[in-house]
Symmetry: C2
Subunit: 342 residues, 2 copies
């Protein structure tokens, strides 16, 4: 950090002490192979003895870019994003990169400010998890000349790591169909959220594959995908004939629904089987452990960093943008067991 007093030792001081030139000191640090073993050892010893800390600001001033990458998420306290952050920091550590965390709260203005800040720091690039589907924003950033990797969302003109939500929706629906041998109901968020639309598409695909009419799918749409919304859905479900299965496109909704049903004495999974989506902490800890779709969040963050680094390393004219799509998996627990058990 800013050593207000000391920290006055730089390459020069080390060079003098070791009896070499500053170029040699720089080389032992950045291209050890180009320095003879003997000198290298001597220089390294002096560096350790003098407690020399290289100044990356100077290096990046010269080089033009910093060993820093930005991570822009809508809400770091949301476990989905914080798990991605864990993946990102792990990969960054491995490559000796620093991660600048930006919490946009999904405020476009704030996000813009933050990307501006990243640009001022000459960050090597930015990993962004966009919540809204507003592509204008993203292209504006890209036109800024930024190396951008999108997380959890594909992009036509850049790299991205995402999850196959259509597959996820299909897995969930398939499981319900197979274990109950009957139709199920879908509880979903707004279709304007690509993930929600995709999960629905997957659910419909499963219906088709099972020889059922996808248009027969009954769907409840909620504004906020929260536990409370799930509880309310229970009430609405009870107004009609109870379905034998429900696929909620997120875990909180599913947990709320289970609570709402329990309140009315409806047995899960005997009477109604429930499948969630996301496999966040509460899923396993629920009173009735939740069958859900696991998203490889950590891998998402990890891969995004690798992608970003590859994009930086490759020569600009060589680089082809690519998309890594991870496959989610079904985690079977008590709320919707494998076999039909009524």
């Amino acid at each position: 950090m800013a050593r207000e007093t000391g920290s006055r030792i730089g390459l020069l001081a080390v060079a003098k002490e070791a009896g070499v030139s500053i170029a040699t000191v720089s080389n032992t640090l950045n291209r050890p192979d180009v320095v003879s073993a003997a000198t290298r050892a001597r220089v390294l010893a002096v560096i350790a003895k003098m407690d020399f800390v290289p100044n990356t600001a100077a290096a990046s001033l010269r080089r033009g870019s910093n060993r820093l990458i930005g991570l822009v998420v809508p809400d770091i306290s949301n476990p989905f994003y914080s798990e991605i952050a864990r993946g990102v920091t792990a990969a960054a550590d491995r490559h000796r990169y620093g991660v600048i965390l930006c919490n946009s709260q999904d405020d476009p203005d704030r996000e813009l400010d933050q990307l501006e800040m990243l640009a001022e720091h000459r960050a090597a690039g930015a990993l962004v998890v966009p919540l809204t589907a507003d592509n204008r924003r993203l292209s504006r950033l890209r036109s800024l000349g930024t190396h951008l990797v999108l997380i959890d969302r594909e992009s036509p003109d850049g790299c991205s790591t995402s999850i196959d939500d259509v597959l996820g929706g299909r897995l969930a629906a398939q499981h319900l169909l197979e274990s109950r041998d009957a139709d199920f109901v879908l509880v979903n968020g707004s279709h304007s959220i690509p993930q929600c639309a995709d999960r629905r598409t997957g659910a419909r695909a499963a219906l088709s594959a099972a020889g059922r009419d996808p248009d027969s799918l009954v769907e409840y749409e909620v504004d906020d995908m929260t536990t409370e919304a799930g509880v309310e859905i229970a009430e609405r479900l009870l107004e009609k004939e109870l379905p034998s299965g429900v696929f909620c496109t997120n875990d909180l909704l599913a947990i709320g629904l289970m609570r709402g049903l329990a309140h009315h004495g409806i047995a899960v999974p005997d009477r109604v089987a429930i499948v969630g989506y996301g496999d966040l902490a509460p899923a396993a800890d629920a009173p009735i452990p939740l069958t859900t779709v696991d998203q490889p969040k950590f891998a998402l963050g990890n891969a995004a960093v690798e992608m970003m680094l590859a994009e930086i390393t490759e020569k600009d004219d060589t680089h082809r943008h690519s998309a890594t799509v991870f496959r989610p998996t079904l985690v079977v627990r008590d709320s919707a067991p494998a076999r039909k058990n009524s």
Copy 2:
């Protein structure tokens, strides 16, 4: 970010275009008050037109320190820490500082590497949330000349923001004592964790204040403060006469305990009242909403940044280290309601 191609415009280009000197451009950016309104406006217009992005690397090379602060947490995917991170980023944004996120996984070696990295970037300082009580590590860091603010732990030789866990323990215990008019049992983590020791101290204090013998406090200690451990505690509790109240020093333990008790048909809160600690998301979402102690996590992160900035700003000989201690509050929910209701 690293604009591989463009980004070649610097102060000089802007200065030329605006017909002023680079010093004036620098001044309009850093000390607007020293520039005449007319020139300022003109320069600003040119900056916008040319899409000039100042290079902080150059600035910090000159200044010696960067508008960057490090945040070192044991595990960013733990909601306690991610909420702190939210507070930190919010405050940092306000002051136009960037936050470098370091996930130490509580590995001392990694933590050291990360602080080294922060030093290389000439970060203005670091906010660290230490998990273990190992003070040697911390003093080593401090001796590095680093501005360090501890979060969630007091430190004799530096600034810190923390929570009064003794008070928290007292609040929880008092509530149990008053609402049940009977003794309670304590389920705690290892005493080597200062927070656990403090919460216990608070619980004992409440006992004394109520005219009871603190040494009569029955305590169960668990290694991992998880839901599973809570479930197990339920079994152990059932071996003896059931207490009328249980204070778990974290929410997960409490939730597990409730689940374990439910499994045996024990009614909460009628038969046993339960109080948790932390007020993380699962507390409110539990089947029986959990009475718990709320920790001002966001405020903790927020205050740490302010403290850090104050420490940087003040002249070194003026600065007196200080500790901000936040008061937790009791959140009363169904698992332990206010009035005795047996």
